[in-house]
């Protein structure tokens, strides 16, 4: 009797914790940038503004990183300058108005002296994603430039713009040259800006290449964890509310499975068998399922719990594999599309089998 009461109390606490977490996250997201915001005209819209890192930029950058699957914070488009005074002879670095990108640039050039930043309106999206969707293009660049008089932009004939290398799926070099602009292909990563800017004259970074190494993958771990946690907590909430009608206990510990997947997948990515993101998810799910079978063999879980957990693991691992295509720097559009067609129905099937198992058999807490 006492054990049953204790178990019910525990379930109630878990339910409350999930709801509180999700509500707090939603409240935080109310402070985020709104898609399609039209920036209000300022009196000094035609004058460059100073820019620098403030203490709250570090907090905003952390939130941007942590919740990067959601549009977070954006900066007002325009021409900005670092240092104490505006200098029209300093280089102009073009970038998106995604806060984390600007933070990264300002952080890496903080010791280099004065620079100018041309922040264009990419609707709060990073350079690469915006360029692919046509939101980092010649039109956006020219729209910001035309706000300023030519002698404000440059003391020479042409305006020299240093463009991020990942912007060229949206930016056309030849068309910029027709607008009396001297475009230079800058580095891919902000961390390479100090090296690039220290060598004059500035040269196109043609050999710069995207790197999907361990450091890059580790960087994607936290946002992946939060995304997975948020989605699976909502799923668990549904299952827990179903508890009222189905009289089954939902193991709160199940949320650890997608968290394990979200941690292991990026870290072990090159070593997981399979060439596709979703098939790597299946392999990782199978590996974790082998662990669950071992637990069953040792008597820790029943056969119905094992069945449910395996379906849940495989569904979550395929889901994470497909989601990771948005996180990776190497996802090919045609291949991912084929993966979605092939594996998304399989994922839905596994989640459905989870529900069937729940309804058909009681799952122990």
């Amino acid at each position: 009797m006492k054990a049953a009461k204790g178990s019910k109390r525990q379930s109630r606490v878990q339910l409350i914790l999930i709801i509180v977490f999700l509500v707090l996250l939603q409240l935080l997201r109310l402070t985020y940038y709104r898609k399609g915001t039209s920036w209000q005209a300022l009196e000094d819209q035609s004058r460059p503004l100073p820019i620098g890192l403030k203490w709250y930029d570090f907090i905003l950058a952390f939130i941007c990183w942590m919740d990067s699957f959601v549009r977070t914070y954006a900066k007002r488009p325009g021409l900005y300058y670092t240092g104490k005074q505006y200098d029209s002879s300093t280089p102009i670095l073009v970038t998106s108005n995604y806060h984390l990108t600007i933070f990264s640039i300002l952080w890496h050039i903080r010791k280099l002296g004065s620079f100018r930043l041309l922040i264009i309106d990419t609707d709060g999206i990073n350079v690469w994603c915006a360029a692919g969707k046509g939101q980092f293009s010649n039109q956006q660049i020219l729209a910001v430039l035309k706000r300023y008089k030519h002698d404000v932009l440059t003391g020479q004939g042409k305006i020299t713009l240093i463009l991020p290398k990942l912007s060229f799926s949206g930016v056309i070099l030849q068309d910029l040259k027709k607008e009396k602009i001297n475009p230079i292909i800058g580095p891919i990563y902000a961390k390479d800006l100090p090296t690039f800017l220290s060598v004059l004259p500035y040269k196109d970074q043609d050999s710069d290449c995207v790197d999907f190494n361990l450091a890059t993958r580790v960087f994607t771990c936290l946002p992946g964890l939060l995304q997975v946690l948020t989605i699976h907590l909502k799923l668990l909430l549904v299952f827990m509310l179903l508890n009222k009608t189905l009289a089954v206990e939902i193991p709160f510990g199940l949320v650890s499975i997608p968290l394990i997947i979200a941690t292991l997948y990026p870290l072990l990515f090159p070593f997981i068998p399979g060439t596709q993101f979703a098939s790597k998810g299946v392999w990782l799910g199978a590996f974790i399922s082998a662990g669950l079978v071992a637990l069953f063999g040792l008597g820790y879980i029943s056969n119905s719990q094992l069945l449910f957990s395996i379906f849940y693991t495989l569904a979550a691992s395929i889901f994470f594999g497909l989601s990771y295509t948005g996180n990776s720097a190497i996802s090919n559009y045609s291949k991912v599309k084929k993966e979605v067609v092939r594996f998304f129905p399989v994922e839905v099937l596994f989640y459905t089998l989870c529900l069937v198992t729940l309804i058909y058999k009681e799952v122990w807490l």
Partner: protein
């Protein structure tokens, strides 16, 4: 999918400069695909090719965007 029509290629090397994965290289003053498996179909090369020698199936390899645009047929970005 990426294809180069070498009869149209003028050897300006812009495509090799803008590619983020070094998929292309110059050989005998013509652009050639050397790492096809690394191509992510971003179309930086095709967009910047002044002689229209490069054809790419342009797209973004993001699951959420593919579901939103190609399956649900809703415009806009993935996030």
């Amino acid at each position: 999918m990426i294809e180069i029509d070498q009869t149209k290629c003028i050897g300006c090397i812009v495509c090799t400069k803008v590619c983020p994965h070094q998929v292309l290289a110059m050989k005998n003053h013509k652009a050639e695909i050397i790492n096809p498996d690394k191509c992510i179909e971003c179309d930086a090369c095709g967009l910047n090719c002044s002689s229209n020698a490069i054809k790419v199936t342009k797209g973004t390899g993001c699951f959420w965007l593919i579901v939103k645009q190609d399956i649900l047929k809703r415009p806009g970005s993935c996030c």
